[in-house]
């Protein structure tokens, strides 16, 4: 269990040490090391199959790692179900395909976890939900069902739903990859606002403009390894690594 003391204590938000992950015989993550400070904004990019999604899914135990250590907000992620639940309460996640609950309204989507997991009274949970729906600029859609919204709106609801748990860390797993091009910016704008509020963010994305604007550090992964990490200015203009330069030329080249 995360006590309020340990979450407020110093130390990095996320520390990953010698992380190994296998899918059968496929070695998805190879001795990955990464430390994310509180309030830091990280953008992770890399070709598909490079292990970037797997890595952030390990942080809230959607994937179970096979070796190494993950420490989130001072709590080690192991088989202790109390630790896992505690970490999940403090770590929000936004998915590529939104994963909103289709049988609930937008408001209910935002209220269910705070009422069930944090035992918030319904009135309080609703007030919080409406505040975050305002923040992602769709307060008027509260009573609709997810299926009645556009992709961009759905993804903003998903962000609001995660924020309603008032997490300390937000994970974004390719949040704009499933969106039509004209809806990408409305989601990115919300993420930029979130970053300026000081949220600790770990984003897997190919939106290099976003990385340039908000990232403190850009990480390039390939073949299950972190190949290079640098502040955006240096990463985009003065990359040392051949694989990074090749990837960047493919992403930025057109």
């Amino acid at each position: 269990m995360i006590s309020s003391n340990s979450t407020k204590a110093g130390g990095p938000a996320v520390r990953i040490e010698n992380l190994d992950k296998y899918y059968g015989t496929f070695h998805a993550l190879r001795k990955v090391n990464l430390s994310v400070e509180r309030g830091e904004r990280i953008v992770i990019c890399g070709p598909s199959g490079s292990g970037k999604s797997t890595m952030i899914r390990c942080i809230n135990r959607l994937e179970q790692h096979n070796g190494g250590r993950i420490t989130v907000l001072g709590t080690e992620l192991n088989d202790d179900i109390g630790n896992i639940d505690g970490i999940r309460r403090e770590v929000g996640m936004v998915f590529q395909h939104f994963n909103l609950f289709p049988h609930m309204t937008v408001l209910e989507n935002c209220m269910i976890a705070p009422t069930l997991v944090r035992n918030q009274p319904r009135a309080e949970a609703e007030a919080t939900a409406r505040r975050y729906l305002e923040k992602v600029r769709i307060p008027e859609q509260a009573m609709k069902f997810p299926g009645q919204l556009s992709g961009g709106q759905q993804q903003r609801v998903a962000i609001a739903r995660a924020l309603c748990m008032q997490p300390q860390i937000m994970l974004f797993d390719e949040p704009t990859s499933a969106l039509d091009p004209e809806m990408i910016s409305e989601v990115l704008d919300v993420m930029v606002t979130l970053a300026s509020d000081g949220m600790t963010m770990i984003c897997v994305t190919h939106e290099m403009g976003f990385a340039r604007r908000v990232a403190d550090r850009v990480i390039f992964m390939d073949g299950g390894e972190i190949v290079e990490q640098a502040p955006p200015e240096e990463f985009f203009t003065a990359s040392q690594n051949e694989r990074t330069r090749q990837f960047l030329s493919q992403v930025l080249g057109h």
Binding site: L62, R88, M93, T105, V117, F145, M165
Partner: protein, 359 residues
């Protein structure tokens, strides 16, 4: 040049009929022949069932047999046996009330306003208790009537409702166990489901009614009726478990991941995210299973229970009304129809209601 597109005028009703059924001479001929057959069938049926039928018991079986049409007097004379079976004649009002209790209980629990744990529990608790007290008696000044004397519609409804009531939660449990991550649990559950499904219902009923008492201690065996209901619930749950599992497989993996990422516990994920969506997917097949189970209650006659169909046999089987079996079966068919058709319409209502979020 400006183009104006005008929709062709909608054909009138007569025009439409002409185009659909009388387009060519051959088609016209076939249409007329079909129409003639239909009219004559409907006329004969109406003539038999209404115009030439006998409705009163005044003339007795003899007047009835002489008439050209249906002999509905058999129903007027025998309806109490059909509805209540061997239940003591003087006490049949209790059986009627018990039927009503089951119907009211079922209707109430079909209304969305009652879908909270406490209300449903209250409805079922009160309903089951009053059914049991009414039927069995022995308290509140009601005379004692053993389960072996229960029969007719009251028994059919009781067996159906309790089968579903026990079988449905059991089915959900089996479906959840079958998708367990522990292989020995999922395999064992799979074996149980496939095992039960491989047996005919009759053999299960027979085993539970006749064979089980030899294997169980006296105090555990209970009345034959309850063993039969357990057997039928087990059979129901094996099929329904696969229907529920199918519904679960239709829920994208991302749904459970999202719930996990929000910190929801296993039971919260199952109860609030997975099952509601799975049941929506499984609804058409579930209604189907309910309908089949309702009609399969007639098989309990094999172990000596007089449910509605067997009571019907008894109603015309006693000498004087022997000729009127068609009318008795028509009456029973009508009762089945009322219940099953209501069930189907309720299923359709649920589908419409649940489709709200899918738009």
């Amino acid at each position: 040049m400006e183009m104006v597109i005008v929709a062709p005028p909608a054909p009138g009703r007569l025009e439409d009929l002409k185009r659909r059924f009388f387009a060519t001479p051959l088609q016209a001929l076939l249409s007329l022949i079909s129409l003639a057959i239909m009219v004559s069938t409907v006329w004969k049926l109406l003539n038999w069932a209404v115009f030439s039928a006998v409705f009163t018991t005044s003339g007795g079986p003899e007047a009835c047999q002489a008439a050209a049409g249906a002999c509905w007097s058999v129903i007027a004379a025998r309806w109490r046996i059909i509805l209540f079976g061997l239940y003591p004649f003087e006490e049949q009002w209790r059986s009627a009330l018990a039927c009503l209790t089951v119907v009211v209980m079922t209707v109430l629990s079909c209304i969305p306003a009652f879908w909270t744990g406490r209300r449903i529990a209250l409805v079922w608790g009160a309903g089951a208790a009053s059914y049991y007290v009414l039927m069995k008696g022995g308290v509140l000044g009601l005379s004692y009537v053993g389960e072996e004397a229960w029969g007719g519609l009251a028994l059919t409804l009781f067996i159906f409702v309790t089968t579903c009531l026990i079988g449905f939660p059991l089915a959900v449990c089996l479906a959840l166990l079958r998708r367990s991550e522990l292989p020995w649990i999922s395999r064992t559950t799979g074996l149980i489901i496939d095992g039960v499904r491989s047996l005919p219902l009759i053999s299960i009923l027979f085993t539970f009614a006749i064979v089980l008492p030899f294997a169980l201690p006296q105090w555990l065996a209970g009345d034959k009726l309850y063993r039969v209901i357990l057997g039928s619930a087990l059979f129901f749950s094996a099929y329904q478990a696969e229907i529920v599992r199918g519904g679960m497989q239709g829920v994208p993996a991302g749904q459970e991941e999202a719930a996990m990422a929000l910190g929801m516990s296993y039971w919260q994920r199952i109860g609030r995210i997975l099952l509601p969506q799975a049941m929506r997917n499984a609804l058409p097949a579930t209604i189907n299973q309910f309908v089949i189970s309702f009609k399969e209650t007639s098989l309990v006659v094999i172990v000596g229970f007089f449910e509605i169909l067997a009571s019907g046999n008894a109603a015309y089987g006693t000498g004087e009304w022997r000729f009127a079996y068609v009318e008795v079966y028509a009456f029973i068919a009508f009762i089945y129809f009322v219940f099953v058709f209501s069930l189907s319409r309720y299923g359709a209502f649920l589908e419409r209601r649940m489709a709200v979020g899918e738009r």
